[in-house]
């Protein structure tokens, strides 16, 4: 009896020790200290600030941190995630609501570890899992740039997270899984330009944040690098050998695309990619060329295949023995009457570079979301920018018509097998 009691005691001690150790580990994962606020205003030389401006364009910081063009970097833009809505923060040097009190160390820690100056963990909607691999010099340049922007008072907006993700320390566990702080290393087999592009794409422009699929936990699926992901409900195409593009990209086309949003006879940027282009247009041209070189090295691994994109001319009428003939006929009628005016038969100088639709990459995507969004909303240049303009058809086409058009374009434009659950995707994408 005495013997069993001692055994029971040992068990309790072991359990208690385990709890203490686990609590310690959990605490170490979830807790970060506050860093001391700056006491004197720092000063920077202009060359640093200019390099920082270029990095801010390449990293598209304003894309999330500017909600209102008249208040640059003041934050407040809502971002939908599977875990709730996160609002971007104020990164102007306002002392109370921005990063004005942040030391270089606090800024570096935020960029590399996703921790705010006061010690709270930032949500990984802020892609610090990419910035962690930026060089210290580049981080210092960015710091110089942001600390010299006009200070704007703008308190953070409350996030709207689903339970339990409102509890920020949980992000610590995400960091254990997905925050890889292995420094970036150049590939000696590749050119200096390629390496510059590879560094910028990974550590600064964070291309993979959208173009790599995410796991259920919202981290990058590292087994499927650049295999196609999503952004704001658009499909972000695979940039590797699984590229859906029906024609191979040349480097020149990629460079033009990244810089202007237009690759002649190949593609026009739509959706969130327009924003990317708007920022890359202002970045250093050689850096964008390097990004194009790197992207091209991945895209060119896609095998060449025969696609309808190699043919010219309008799309064909549906075959008379098509098992889905009434729907295909409706789609074809809408194509000829609404799309083909610009895209094919009536291509006039005023329609500029409207693509023949057999070349439109969205028709070849593994899911129809981007096509539905383009048809519904058109292609509108970002506010105040010049660019291609395609009218949206959401008010013109009923759900049934939009579905029939997408089904027709998929089959007779791309010659690809039907998208599964197209109708559900149409009504989901069009839901108010």
């Amino acid at each position: 009896m005495n013997h069993t009691r001692r055994k029971r005691h040992t068990r309790w001690w072991l359990l208690l020790a385990a709890i203490v150790v686990l609590t310690g580990i959990a605490f170490a994962i979830m807790w970060r200290p506050a860093l001391a606020p700056l006491t004197t205003a720092p000063s920077f030389d202009n060359a640093r600030i200019e390099r920082g401006a270029n990095l801010a364009h390449l990293g598209m910081c304003a894309s999330c941190h500017t909600a209102d063009l008249s208040r640059p970097f003041a934050g407040g833009k809502p971002m939908e995630t599977p875990f709730g809505t996160v609002h971007s923060t104020n990164i102007t040097p306002d002392r109370d609501t921005g990063i004005g009190a942040w030391s270089p160390e606090a800024f570096t820690r935020a960029m590399r570890e996703g921790v705010a100056r006061d010690g709270h963990l930032l949500y990984p909607a802020f892609p610090y899992n990419h910035y962690v691999r930026m060089t210290q010099d580049d981080i210092d340049d960015l710091y110089a740039y942001f600390m010299t922007r006009p200070a704007i008072a703008a308190p953070a907006r409350d996030n709207d997270m689903t339970f339990p993700f409102g509890f920020r320390p949980l992000v610590g566990f995400w960091n254990v899984l997905y925050l890889d702080d292995t420094p970036w290393r150049p590939d000696p087999q590749q050119s200096a330009e390629w390496n510059r592009g590879a560094y910028l794409a990974d550590a600064v422009a964070h291309c993979a944040a959208c173009h790599t699929p995410r796991t259920k936990l919202g981290g990058p699926d590292l087994k499927r690098q650049l295999d196609g992901g999503e952004a704001e409900d658009w499909y972000a195409p695979a940039l590797n050998r699984n590229s859906p593009s029906p024609l191979p990209w040349t480097r020149e086309q990629l460079q033009a695309y990244l810089r202007t949003g237009m690759a002649e006879d190949h593609a026009v940027a739509g959706g969130p990619m327009q924003d990317v282009v708007m920022h890359l247009a202002q970045a250093d041209e050689a850096d964008v060329a390097a990004l194009a070189a790197w992207t091209h090295s991945h895209l060119s691994q896609a095998p060449l295949r025969a696609t309808p994109a190699q043919r010219d001319g309008p799309l064909p009428a549906p075959a008379l023995d098509d098992p889905d003939l009434p729907r295909m006929r409706l789609g074809y009628a809408l194509y000829t009457n609404s799309c083909a005016r610009c895209h094919d038969v009536g291509r006039a100088p005023s329609s500029g570079t409207a693509l023949p639709l057999q070349k439109a990459i969205a028709l070849y995507d593994p899911d129809p979301r981007s096509l539905i969004h383009i048809v519904d909303s058109g292609i509108l240049p970002p506010d105040g920018e010049a660019g291609r303009w395609m009218p949206g058809f959401k008010a013109i086409l009923s759900d049934e018509q939009a579905g029939a058009l997408a089904a027709y374009l998929r089959k007779y434009g791309a010659g690809e097998p039907a998208w599964p659950q197209l109708d559900q995707q149409v009504s989901k994408a069009r839901a108010p």
Binding site: N337, S338, S350, W389, I396
Partner: protein, 159 residues
């Protein structure tokens, strides 16, 4: 040729035409509603804008066969020279037209905005009106006219 039954400015119409005829042609050629204009025929200029089911559409891009039961409204439904609607009066007050070709489309685009957003900000007006082009360059007056109409409606004016 097929017969299409359309609801335009609250009145039923039957039109015998080809399914691919643009709604714009039907309005102008069959129903003699000449407010909406043919500008580019490519959905790039907005001079053919009408309202379908409460939403602004470029009628040059709408095949008549796609209209179905959706109600269509044109500038003629807003008022007449003797009794202009609020937006029409605001465009007169601001002298917002030079050649006038784009104005019916402008007014319909603005009508759709004010029905959905009765008190728009200036930024909302600009963004909403951006699809519609005016080659004479009276955009600033057009924006003022929409502002004036919105303010009048907010002060209790009738549509």
């Amino acid at each position: 040729m097929t017969t299409y039954r359309l609801q335009v400015n609250g009145k039923p119409h039957a039109v015998n035409t080809d399914p691919d005829t643009p709604l714009l042609y039907v309005l102008r050629d069959d129903l003699a509603l000449n407010g909406a204009k043919f500008g580019c025929g490519l959905g790039q200029c907005g001079s053919c804008t009408v309202i379908m089911d409460g939403k602004p559409v470029m009628s040059c891009l709408v095949p008549v066969s796609a209209v179905g039961a959706r109600a269509v409204r044109t500038v003629e439904g807003l008022g007449s020279s003797d009794k202009p609607g609020v937006l029409q009066q605001a465009f007169i007050d601001e002298q917002a037209a030079q050649c006038g070709y784009c104005i019916a489309g402008m007014i319909m685009q603005a009508t759709a905005l004010l029905e959905k957003t009765p008190a728009p900000t200036d930024a909302q007006i600009r963004a909403h009106m951006s699809p519609n082009l005016c080659r004479c360059g009276t955009h600033m007056r057009i924006l003022r006219a929409v502002r004036r109409a919105a303010d009048r409606l907010a002060a209790g004016g009738k549509r």
